[in-house]
């Protein structure tokens, strides 16, 4: 009967484990002889299953909100461009960029859509055309005509909203997505490789760190059940990281050249430390299911 309840709850919460990816079988770091995450008869297992499902739904809601905001920001951007208000258009473009950063890593599975939304000029295929947010960025910051590029965004943004609405990520997948987001901050945003025209990578730094923190918040409850000490440690490093990023100043007003080298270094090292801890937590959540699959 207990097993039936577990299964029913798991299904009701929309929590599904992908058939392809099996639990990694990672040995819990605590070394406990009895692992409640794998004992289906345990009351803890039931609670974990519920918590895992809640994490999935929380994150799905967060992403839904982000994609909806992204679509809205693109609409506002279109209006500003059509009205010739470059100042407003720049603000709207930066806002849209920040929203995109929230679900950037999830677009990895939607390569075509991603290329229409956030492709860098250096990533355009030999026979392709430069489009998306960075094309609009180029237009707005180097006095080009943004109308055509924004029109393309207006078509593709709802596609992303639809594609991502189908995702149901397990807690482990949410964690690894956040880890990837942090890695992107160090590899791309902090070195100033993203905003090549506006040079306002602080927008991406803040948005991406915030997105990773938000993802952690979604899995924090289940993390506290599986490994409270590690989860507390992750929360602490995130707090330090957010403080570091906050010291950059208002992101839309901090050009790349104005970020002190020492602060850039400090943020980078803090990001790496946070990502390392978060990766460990994600591994601890693997027995609850890995990766995820779009719901049919």
């Amino acid at each position: 009967m207990g097993l039936l309840v577990v299964a029913a709850l798991a299904g009701a919460c929309g929590y599904t484990a992908s058939a392809r990816y099996q639990p990694s079988g990672a040995t819990p770091s605590s070394g406990a002889a009895h692992d409640p995450t794998t004992d289906p008869a345990s009351a803890t297992a039931v609670a974990l299953s519920v918590a895992a499902g809640a994490a999935t739904e929380t994150y799905r809601t967060d992403i839904g909100n982000a994609t909806a905001a992204f679509v809205a920001d693109i609409g506002t951007l279109q209006e500003a461009v059509d009205g010739g208000d470059i100042g407003a258009a720049k603000s709207d473009e930066l806002a849209a960029q920040a929203q995109y950063d929230t679900f950037r890593q999830l677009e990895g599975g939607n390569a075509v859509n991603a290329s229409t939304l956030d492709e860098l000029a250096t990533e355009v295929a030999p026979n392709g055309s430069f489009a998306g947010l960075h094309a609009v960025e180029r237009d707005l910051w180097t006095s080009g005509n943004a109308r055509a590029d924004v029109a393309g965004l207006s078509v593709q943004a709802p596609v992303a909203q639809y594609l991502l609405s189908r995702d149901r990520l397990t807690p482990e997948a949410i964690g690894t997505t956040a880890v990837s987001e942090l890695g992107w901050v160090v590899s791309t945003a902090l070195p100033g490789r993203e905003e090549r025209f506006s040079h306002l990578d602080a927008v991406d730094i803040a948005a991406a760190v915030g997105a990773a923190d938000q993802a952690f918040a979604a899995i924090e409850p289940v993390g506290r059940t599986v490994d409270p000490d590690l989860t507390t440690s992750v929360a602490q490093v995130f707090s330090s990281l957010e403080a570091d990023v906050g010291s950059l100043g208002p992101p839309t007003q901090v050009p790349d050249a104005a970020i002190p080298t020492t602060l850039r270094l400090s943020v980078s090292q803090q990001v790496d430390a946070t990502a390392a801890e978060l990766a460990q937590l994600a591994a601890r959540l693997a027995p609850l299911g890995t990766a995820g699959a779009p719901s049919s």
């Binding site: 058939a19 392809r20 990694s24 860098l120 250096t122 990533e123 295929a125 030999p126 690894t176 880890v179 990837s180 890695g183 160090v186 590899s187 902090l190 070195p191 490789r193 080298t261 850039r264 270094l265 980078s268 090292q269 790496d272 990502a275 390392a276 990766a279 591994a283």
Partner: protein, 427 residues
Amino acid sequence: MKRNRAEPGAAPPVDPPRSGALSRRQLLARSGLASAALLATAGAVPAGADASGTSPGDLIPISFSGPHQAGIATPEQDRMVFAAYDVTAGDVSGLAALLAAWTDAAARMTAGQALTGPGGPFAPPADTGEALDLPPSRLTITVGFGPTLFDDRFGLRPSRPEALVDLPSFAVDDLGPARTGGDLCVQACADDAQVAFHAVRNLTRLALGSATVRYVQLGFGRTASPGAGQQTPRNLLGFRDGTDNLVAGDEGAMQRFVWVDRDSDQPWMVGGTYLVARRIRVHLEAWDRSTLGDQQETIGRVKASGAPLGGSRESDPVDLQALGPDGLPLIPDGAHIRQAAPSTNDGEAILRRGYSFADGVDPASGELDAGLFFICFQKDPRQQFIPIQQRLSDQDALSEYVVHTGSGIFACPPGTQDAQGLGHGLV
């Protein structure tokens, strides 16, 4: 261009001792104990040589002379020093003189000999000296000519091969100008880092007034196995690197994929090849926190054994069609070995001969500045490296972890033989 030297195959000439005492390198050369046959018979380190830490192979020099330059098909050594130069000579005669000096010096150094000069206490030593007590260590010196050499300075524009194109930009690029390009390059490889460095250092000295150093890159830990019988080494990702590399001993493959043949638009390049060098920085911190499963799916191999996913041994053929019980490919679509496979690239292949590097810490991020100094040789980069790299940049899962911070393409002329020097037929 001709130069004075002994006939190929003869024992290399020996410089006279400065103070009456013979260095170990001189002793070895005079006694003929560097001959492979004698070493194979004796099976022991020759008298007078330092037996500690010296393998017999290190005592055998690799001839600088031959139809092809050494350091391409040569079984890969353990250390590399790569240097790019900007030529400052005023005219083509200055360039020719530089190449002649380099030819002579390279022949001596690869033979385990010190460079010679006026000598005496009132002149700077002709040889910097740090390799005097060291065996040849399988030193090879390979020289290449960059596209910029063929501008209007030396009248070489008509001699620029069509295949020596400017590399296009790739999505993974973040190229630093200081680590990109160059009129000339030198690849010095040896089993002893000091011997390799000595070679580049002395060539650089000889170039004073004719060329300036653009950049130098040190490498360690060979990441390819172009020699049959060599165990596949591991790169800094922890994976075996070079499993499906071209085998340099496969002459048919070398003729097909590496050596420029008589179809070349430039006769002086026949017997040569094209070198592409890429400084590939790896975000090791991000890699190290990815799961073993992710790492293996990114590469397409089992980390411990090197077996392709779905296989059991490193030597198992890579089956890109194999499916798992779920009906999905065992080797994921974005896996590195799938995207780099010749079958995915119209049958094209390249000879890889790279090295790992570790250059301290990136001051901007505090992360390790380390990765792969990727070197490859091919007959035509337009058909080989460029389309392969384009595919990798766009579709390789490994691209998430790497950024290319330096780049260069060079035409490596054929080897020196019959008393001809580097660049014969060109200058």
